[in-house]
Every structure is written in C-alpha cells, then in structure tokens.
C-alpha cells in the first residue's frame, strides 16, 4: 500500500487542464455528438417496402405501436394499407420491431434528440424521413443474428424420384406432428393471405389452431369456407403462399401442407360432427347442380348447410371432375376425394352420376323440377392446335388421356396405348401431369422411358408450378423450351408419326403483354417421336345449354357472364361458377360455389315472399 499522505489526493489536480469527458451543455442541442453505429434511435420506415403486416405492433413489448389505415396507400394483394404509428411516450427503443420486421422496411436511426412540450408530438408515423425531418444515418438494423422470424420452411418428406417414377404412390408424405407445430409457429398471424385466397379462407386462424394443437377448431375453420379441404390440402394452387409475409425475406409458410395436416389427422367421427355442425338453417327448396367438380360440390355443400335439397348431376361414373379424372393419383389419391365427397353426401346431397345433362336430362327439365340451377361444367376438353398432321390417331388430347389414365389406375380400364418415344406439347401443370403419367406408364410397360416436352415458353416463362418442374425433371422429362410446333411429320410408308418439327420462338408476348408468339422460321429443329400429346390449354363445352337460352345470356370466350353472387345475366334462375366463369383453378371453384350458394339462398328466399 502506498504511504498515506495528506498530499496524496491532490495528485488529482493534474487532470485540471485535460479535456473533459462531459459535453458542454451548450453543445448538447447545437452541436450534438453523433451516436455509435449500432444506436437504437428513432424509427424510419420505408413505405415502399412496408407491407403493413403489423408484426411490429404484435411484438412491441410496450404496446407503443398501432397500425393505422392510410387513405393514400393502395389496398393491393400481398399487403395491407396500414402503416405503424409509434407512441414515443411508450417506446423503449428495444428494437424488437426491427428484428421481426417481415419486409425489412423498419429500421432505427442514429437520431436521438427530440423535445416538445406537447404530448401529441410524441405520436409519430415514421416514414423514410426521421422524426424531425432531418436526414440521419441508419443505426440499429436487422441482421441474420438478430432476426426474430424463422425464415426456413420445415422440410417436407417426398418420395425419391427413382421410387416414384415407376409408381403412382402419393409423393408428398405430409407433416408429422412436430413438423406441423414447428411450421405453424413460424406464422406471424398477419392475415395478408386471407385477402388473396380466392375463398378467403381463415388461414391465420387455422394455422393458429394447428399451433395450439386444437385440430377440431382448425377443421371447423376450414369448413367455414371450403368443403374440399383434403383435396385442397394437396392440389390447391396456394396463391396464399405467394403473398405470405414471410416470403419477403424467407420461405412462405407451408399453408397448404398445414391444411392437409389438419384433415389428415382428424378422426372420422370428429370430422362428421364438425361437418354436420355447419348446418345453420332450414331452407325450403330444391337446387340442381350440373357438374360435380369443385365448384358444383362446394355449392352443393353450402346449399345443404342452408337446408336445401340438392341434386348434383355428373356425366362421368364418379363425382369429382378434374379431381377424379385430371389430377394424377400420385398427387391426389382417390381415397382423398372420396373422403371429402362422403361428408358432402352425409349432409343429404344426392349425386347422380352417369347422368349427362343435355342428353339424359335437359336443362329445361331441371329448371322445372328445381327452384334454381347451378352450372359448373368446367373445361373438359383440350384446346386444339392447328398444324399439319394433327388429325393423326397418335396425336392425343391431354384431358381424355388423363381421364383414361385415372381409369386405368383405379382398375376400371386398360392402359392407354403408349408408345416408346413421346412428345408432350405444352408446359403448364396439365402438360406435366401428362408427361409424368407417361413416364410411369412407359416404365411399367417398357421398363424404360423417353418423354420429351416441347413448349413455346422459356424456362422463366413456364406456367407450371415450380415443384412440378423440379419433380418432373428429376423424374427424367427432357425439356425443349422456347420452340413452337409447326408440323407433325408422318412416315409415308407406314403411316406412323415419325417426328415433330418446331421453330424457335423469339417472342411470346407483344408490347401490351398479350399472347402473340413470333417464330424464327429459320431456326428449326425436329424431335423424333411416335406419339404427340397436346396439353396447351383447356376449353369449355356449353352445348348442353339450349340455343334460345344461349342467346339470352352472355358468353365471352367460353365464359359465362355472372354477377358477384354467380347469378347469370339474363336468366335469374340460373347460376354459374368454376372454370366456365373464372378459369381453371380448384380453389376459385370452391369460392364460386360458396358465393353462388349465398346467391341462390337469397334468390329462393326472395321468390318465396
């Protein structure tokens, strides 16, 4: 220990002329010190990037953030017209709002000085300008370590390509309980998906039910807007996932697989209880439905819950439409479709199969025996391609081939006539269904495969869902993209197809973004093949509607004009939905059916009075 001296403390005098650590009072406002790089100061929010999801308000530990709807922000899909308002009387500058921001629009700056005697002034809606309108450098920002979202989707088990390409077993295995819990925990409950879903399903609500382990409640949410949850849990186009708040910086929530998890894990007795509990009133009347696809079945279900007697007419031997005769069984097993339809039937819906409206029974007859008629006859036929040689017997149409294929799979028909080398024209989901079914048939019949795909679109333009493309290529489809078929070459001696000639497509859309392909006729190529499968789109068949009625209603490009609740312009007793109104999509069909059921209920109730 140093010797104690009365003088020891005076050593401190040597600091008398050193620069002090403290900042002079005068400089605090006039010449403020710049804060450190990581500083958690006032917020800024980039309105262009902000999607108004409200996750910042959700996590705020001091309830300082409120979402306020702005009249000058457009209400578009994938966002909400809301922006956060921060109460700096409550804010504690923790920065959790920045860490969890789904779009990365919200950040903190180095700005830390603000003063006002007016309490109102502490309420602030941050923009890219700071609270005082001056420019400040960014302070605390989100990074990989501080991120509070779980950006990675839980892995979904798939059957491997080698195993699946020679069989029709279902490819997607479905989530286990742990996976479903983990996946549902990623959701931030913003509800942006609901607006985009054609059926406006209660998506955040049923995801929360999964997370809480309350599948009964989850199923109840599903049936409120969708009576085909098992089917949609497998083959829905899941537009919701494309707008998911999580998709801005990471993987969207696997909404479709979570839906499937609910339906796959509910015992049948509970299922029945929930489905039957949806019945809300006892309506009086009978409704006829033409076509048992998604739209027709959905209308049937919701009409039944409103107490109506429902007759569904289907010309095929089984109900389901494209779910039955289009979707390959490796995506949608028959048992799944049976499951959903059986609960619709439990509500008393009568499905008359093998009954072709227009032939076995006329629309007029249905009108006479029922209070209203709903038509949802879909797009059963393949769009024609007008090139030389297309009338050859080995040029096959996608829809009829897929129908024949599903009949073979369920053992009621022989395998369609498949050749060893085939070309599929088109690159949509249906083209992939055809190609991948062909792979399985070839492997079964010949023990080897050769399926080529020919399409106008380039890899970026392919309309099929990405997983179809990935899985199709994994299974061995050879893609020829950016070429348009010109001639189907026929061997003069044998009369068989020997190849298909194509030209390079140099432009697909015109300047107005309209489909208008242009070819370079000098850049030719020829694919050797024995069969050609056309899958370039589908068309409706409205021949069952009598001429007089067709004249009264409006049909444009094969689509029937209806009002918001599916009522056909020019025939108040007639309602329409599904493909023939909105184009091909199961979930749009479900939504149309639901809306039409509401419309029909109003129509019948009004006519009663």
């Amino acid at each position: 220990m140093n010797k104690k001296s009365i003088l020891a403390p005076f050593k401190g005098w040597k600091y008398l002329f050193k620069k002090p650590v403290a900042i002079p009072m005068d400089d605090i406002f006039k010449n403020p010190r710049e804060s450190q790089d990581n500083y958690r100061g006032f917020h800024i929010n980039d309105w262009e990037t902000c999607i108004g999801c409200g996750t910042c308000a959700e996590i705020c530990p001091t309830n300082a953030i409120t979402m306020v709807e702005r009249s000058d922000v457009e209400d578009v899909e994938g966002s909400k017209p809301e922006r956060p308002v921060i109460d700096y009387g409550r804010c504690c500058f923790c920065g959790l709002c920045v860490d969890i921001c789904t779009s990365g629009s919200l950040n903190l700056t180095k700005e830390y000085l603000y003063n006002s005697s007016e309490p109102e002034d502490y309420l602030h809606m941050p923009t890219s300008e700071g609270i005082t309108g001056k420019e400040y450098k960014l302070g605390y920002i989100q990074d990989e370590t501080s991120d509070l979202l779980d950006l990675e989707r839980k892995h979904m088990e798939h059957v491997g390509a080698e195993k699946r390409k020679s069989s029709f077993i279902e490819i997607v295995r479905g989530f286990s309980k742990e996976q479903a819990l983990a996946e549902s925990a990623r959701c931030v409950d913003c509800g942006i998906c609901t607006k985009t879903c054609p059926a406006n399903m209660n998506i955040p609500e049923y995801i929360k039910s999964v997370w809480e382990g309350n599948l009964e409640e989850g199923l109840d949410y599903l049936y409120k807007t969708n009576p085909l949850p098992s089917v949609c849990g497998r083959i829905c186009t899941h537009e919701c996932e494309s707008v998911c708040a999580l998709s801005h910086r990471g993987d969207a929530i696997a909404i479709r697989w979570l839906k499937r998890y609910i339906v796959d894990n509910m015992p049948d007795d509970k299922y029945e209880e929930i489905v039957l509990s949806q019945v809300s009133k006892k309506g009086e009347g009978k409704v006829a439905i033409v076509g048992a696809g998604s739209s027709g079945l959905s209308a049937a279900y919701y009409l039944a819950t409103l107490g109506y007697e429902v007759d569904v007419y289907e010309r095929k031997p089984m109900a389901g439409g494209p779910m039955r005769y289009g979707a390959p069984k490796y995506r949608l097993p028959d048992a799944v479709t049976d499951h959903d339809i059986s609960f619709i039937e439990k509500l008393g819906v009568k499905i008359h199969t093998n009954t072709d409206v227009g032939k076995d029974i006329t629309l007029d007859e249905l009108k006479k025996t029922h209070n209203a008629v709903f038509v949802s006859t879909g797009y059963p036929d393949t769009r024609a391609l007008k090139i030389p040689g297309v009338d050859h017997k080995d040029v096959k149409m996608a829809m009829s081939f897929l129908a024949a294929a599903t009949e073979y799979e369920r053992g009621v028909a022989a395998m369609p006539d498949i050749k060893e080398d085939v070309v599929v024209v088109g690159s949509g989901d249906v083209a992939f269904d055809v190609a991948r079914t062909l792979i399985r048939f070839q492997n079964e019949k010949y023990g080897k495969m050769n399926v080529q795909m020919l399409a106008l679109e380039t890899a970026q333009q392919v309309p099929a869902t990405p997983e179809e493309v990935t899985e199709g290529v994994e299974e061995g489809i050879h893609m020829n993209l950016g070429f348009g078929p010109q001639t189907i070459q026929i061997d003069k001696e044998s009369g068989d197809i020997k190849g298909i000639e194509a030209c390079e497509c140099i432009r697909l859309f015109d300047d107005n973004n309209r489909f208008d392909p242009q070819m370079d006729f000098d850049a030719k190529m020829c694919l050797e093949t024995q069969q050609v499968y056309l899958a370039i789109g589908q068309v409706s068949d409205l021949s069952y509607i009598p001429k007089e009625l067709q004249d009264k209603i409006t049909i444009e490009r094969g689509k029937i004009k209806v009002d918001a609740e599916g009522q056909v312009d020019g025939a108040s007793w007639l309602f329409a939905g599904g493909d023939i109104v909105h184009g091909m999509d199961i979930i749009n069909g479900v939504a149309d059916g639901h809306r039409a059921a509401v419309g029909i209920d109003k129509y019948i109730s009004k006519n009663k009075k």
Binding site: V68, E69, R70, S71, R83, D87, P119
Partner: protein, 171 residues
C-alpha cells in the same frame, strides 16, 4: 453431479417423504416435500453445508388450487443449489416461519405474504406491508389478479387526437 450429492439426496429420501426429485440443471436439485417436513429438511440441509438461503419465493398454481413455496439454498463448499419446495392449500395458505433456521428469511416471508397472501406464523412482522403502500386489492402476484384491469381503472390512458389516416394537411 458428484457422488456426495447423490448420497445426500438418497439420505434425504430415506429420512423424509420425498414427493419428487428433479435435476433442472447441472449442480441443482429440486426436492418436493409435504409442508410438515420442510422445517426438518431445511435444518438438516443447513447442518450439511447449505448455509445460505438465497431466496424464498412462491408460485401460484391456480389450477391445482395450490401455492408452492420454494426455498433456494446454496452450499458454497460444493456449489450445489437445492430447491426445497412444498405446496400449500391456496384457500388457506398458512405456514410457519423458518426464521429460527435462516434468520435472513424474515423479509422474504414478508415479501411472500404481501404478494401471495401466505401467512407465516411465528413471524409477527410478516403481516406488515412492505412494498405496497396503501394497497387496496388482493395480493398482486396471485394469478387471478389482473394488473391491466387494475391499472385501466386507476390510471386512464391518454387519448390522442392526432389523425394519421391521411397525409398531413390533407382533408
């Protein structure tokens, strides 16, 4: 955990009716007893090296209708911490003081009384208010006390008039 601890736990188990044993983390053992054994267990532990009462606290298991007392003991010689726990009837939470074993418990008991309503017989000052001046509601750390409702009633929130729905200056 070393052998001494296992021996100690076995020893305790042979002497007292142990309702549960858990090792929530390294060097920590939780032991559940009936209320009547707590004093003997604490005295026994103290005489075996657990000289320090780090804390006495309480957990409200409202669904079971129990209040759980947790005595946290520490042994500086071997670094082992004990959670000695017991559950009391929530409707009539009465226990007796441990200040004769750990005098430092005096204020912890007062704290638990104030926030959970547990009465400690033999600690006359435990009934006095400590933190909560002029408190007029149930003990606030009980699960059925709703602080939001209490604060909403006593301290109304400020109403702001500022309108953010439009651009500034727009009508």
């Amino acid at each position: 955990m070393n052998n001494n601890i296992e021996t100690f736990v076995e020893d305790i188990k042979s002497k007292y009716e142990t309702l549960g044993v858990d090792i929530p983390k390294n060097n920590q053992v939780s032991l559940d007893f009936t209320a009547r054994d707590i004093h003997s267990v604490l005295a026994y532990a103290k005489s075996h090296g657990w000289a320090q009462l780090s804390m006495l606290t309480c957990v409200d298991w409202i669904e079971e209708n129990k209040l759980q007392l947790v005595y946290l003991l520490f042994n500086w010689e071997n670094g082992v911490r004990l959670q000695v726990r017991t559950k009391l009837d929530r409707d009539k939470p009465v226990f007796s003081t441990i200040t004769s074993i750990y005098p430092g418990a005096k204020y912890y008991e007062r704290d638990v009384h104030e926030f959970f309503g547990v009465e400690f017989e033999g600690n006359p000052e435990s009934y006095k208010p400590l933190f909560l001046e002029n408190w007029d509601d149930m003990p606030p750390l009980l699960k059925d006390f709703d602080p939001q409702a209490y604060s909403d009633e006593k301290y109304p929130a400020r109403e702001y008039e500022k309108d953010f729905t439009k651009k500034a200056g727009e009508k």
